[in-house]
């Protein structure tokens, strides 16, 4: 399958999903009014990817800000990856990056960790 590459914009993050290496990166800010519109192709790509995922999927979340509309979409992204980490031949790890003074972003990573069945590493940058 093809990689998914979306350029960063004022209100949306860059998306760099490489199916060969299993590296999925979301970077920038995510504050679109309608997050579903932006994340729909991301969901579709993940649905296809999760049918035959790379042996080791590494998710890198490097977000400065995200709005509540996007918070729901992030949860949906993680949930779509749960089957690829349910004891079969593939695994998924989430690396959640936050700036050292950004307690809110650290807490957000912690929140997702509690809601999702994927291993999270919170990384201070």
């Amino acid at each position: 399958m093809d990689p998914l590459i979306i350029e960063e914009s004022i209100k949306t993050p860059s998306i760099t999903f490489n199916p060969g290496t299993g590296t999925l990166e979301i970077k920038g800010k995510s504050i679109p009014e309608n997050s579903l519109e932006f994340y729909k192709p991301v969901f579709e790509w993940l649905d296809a990817y999760s049918k035959s995922p790379a042996p080791n999927t590494e998710v890198h979340i490097r977000l400065d800000y995200f709005n509540t509309s996007s918070s729901k979409c992030l949860l949906d992204i993680f949930r779509r990856l749960e089957p690829a980490n349910s004891g079969g031949s593939s695994s998924v790890k989430v690396h959640w990056f936050y700036e050292s003074d950004d307690e809110d972003m650290m807490e957000a990573g912690d929140d997702y960790q509690a809601l999702v069945k994927l291993p999270f590493t919170l990384i201070k940058v």
Binding site: E33, E37, N67, T68, S71, D111, L115
Partner: protein, 184 residues
Amino acid sequence: MANLNIYELFRRMEAEDIILSFKGDITQDLLSSVYQIMEARLDSEREEPKRKKKFYHILVECLQNVYHHMVDLKEEHGAEAMESTAIFMIGYGPDNSYRIVTGNFISVDYIEGLRTKLEHINKLSPEELKAEYLQQLSTTELSEKGGAGLGLIDMARKSGQKLDFDFYHVSDTHSFFSLGVTVH
């Protein structure tokens, strides 16, 4: 605006410490501009990054809250109707705080529900707000337009302040709803 005294309006806005105000149709392009203007403004004032992030985050939720209501009202009444117009003001509050105040029309049918929700949010402790946020995040579906129903909880949680609100009588069918958030 035949009788408008613009100097008086200017002085009033100065006295109220208003940085930016807008009345009219709330569009995605408008919001992009407002975010950029406010970001530049906070940078020029050398606001500390942590506080800047907090303000920016709450600003986005406040304005998008109004935006989503406006989309609904436009569908209901048409883009030209009075109900499709809203107002917001961004300025300074007491003790070096920022204030964000929004005002928009709502159907009177929503007043009680909204009042109940806001009164409930204002009673919650930080821990309870977090629990409520996680509960909503994991159980509710996004609306077709991307509304998560989390905006008010998030504003209260991130600001650490009570949300102040009011409903002004307009007509038998509509009320004018104001929402204010202080960011310390």
